[in-house]
Symmetry: C2
Subunit: 195 residues, 2 copies
């Protein structure tokens, strides 16, 4: 069953090993921040640094694996119509909005939305690290300059992640203007049964 995450919000849910998480961008140009914990050990969680290291790449697409801080595979990307994601940047928080958008009223951002969603599973805020920023288009120049560009995702584009362990998963519809071409849109997702 397809579920909808409203613009600038987030949710958390469980997924079992073997099931697949399909993250869909229904309108296009919308980022979804993804984070996960081992359902049986909340001290094991998604690790950008381990994933970059083991994939030997900052570019994630079908066949790439997302690792935990314990070097275990959490997800494998098994289908991906976008192939443009970010795994460098932490989800925006109230402080991030104050930094980048000082004239706007601060919002919880994906960090705040994940904190609230994961709280139902008794996961403390400080365990939420760098998220897998699905559909986020981050360019790094040869000099290392980071630029956030509009997502390349079109309406209906999606990425399917196969769960390699039982997990508690957080997922958002990103709240930051620049990341979403300055229009806040929903994200949809489905849990598909194991193959």
């Amino acid at each position: 069953m397809r579920q909808t995450i409203q613009p600038r919000s987030g949710t958390a849910f469980t997924i079992n090993k073997g099931e697949r998480l399909k993250v869909i961008d229904p309108e296009g140009e919308q980022v979804a921040d993804l984070y996960a914990f081992n359902a049986h050990d909340k001290n094991e969680f998604m690790s950008s640094g381990r994933s970059l290291d083991y994939n030997e790449s900052t570019h994630f697409k079908s066949g790439c694996k997302l690792y935990s801080n314990e070097s275990q595979v959490m997800f494998e990307i098994i289908e991906d119509t976008v192939e443009e994601h970010d795994f460098l940047l932490t989800p925006c928080s109230v402080d991030t909005f104050k930094h980048f958008y000082p004239s706007d009223p601060p919002v919880p951002g994906c960090h705040g939305n994940l904190v609230a969603a994961f709280a139902e599973f008794d996961i403390p805020a400080h365990h939420i690290g760098t998220t897998f920023n699905t559909f986020m288009n981050v360019d790094v120049s040869p000099e290392g300059k980071i630029a956030v560009l509009p997502p390349t995702s079109k309406a209906g584009d999606y990425t399917i992640f196969e769960a390699k362990m039982d997990m508690i998963v957080g997922l958002t519809a990103c709240s930051a203007g620049e990341s979403n071409n300055f229009r806040y849109k929903p994200i949809q997702f489905e849990i598909l049964p194991a193959l």
Copy 2:
């Protein structure tokens, strides 16, 4: 007073706001992994993702700031004779060595050495995230391919970090062959008084 970290080992110590940490590569081509916690709140720690975001760069040099997960500045780089560091990759662990060097006997790596050093301060292993890999030379190609190259640091090169809060700091002499041009060397450091 200059202190020496023996090859493939690590240490932890406290630093007060205003003091400066000088990390020295005495022989050249040697990486030192740096991580830190707020001395008054161990749930606040160094964040690669926040630092990349706020610096808008993967390239760290004099004038750059290292942020915590709470968006507070922990260190500012105030002097740097190298300007080639990595803030993408997590410190190697036993599992990392098994992955990258399967024919070698696994060693604790910087992760294991930091876990042991921080344990004296009652900091649990899973709080140690992506370190600031001082002098580590990581190339990212336009396609996102990550390559670990020999450090550009020469004998006597150094980086000085000014502490912007009271911290518990971990520092290592990196244990990975590829990162150190396949020779394991010491790292030295000094705590300099506030200016």
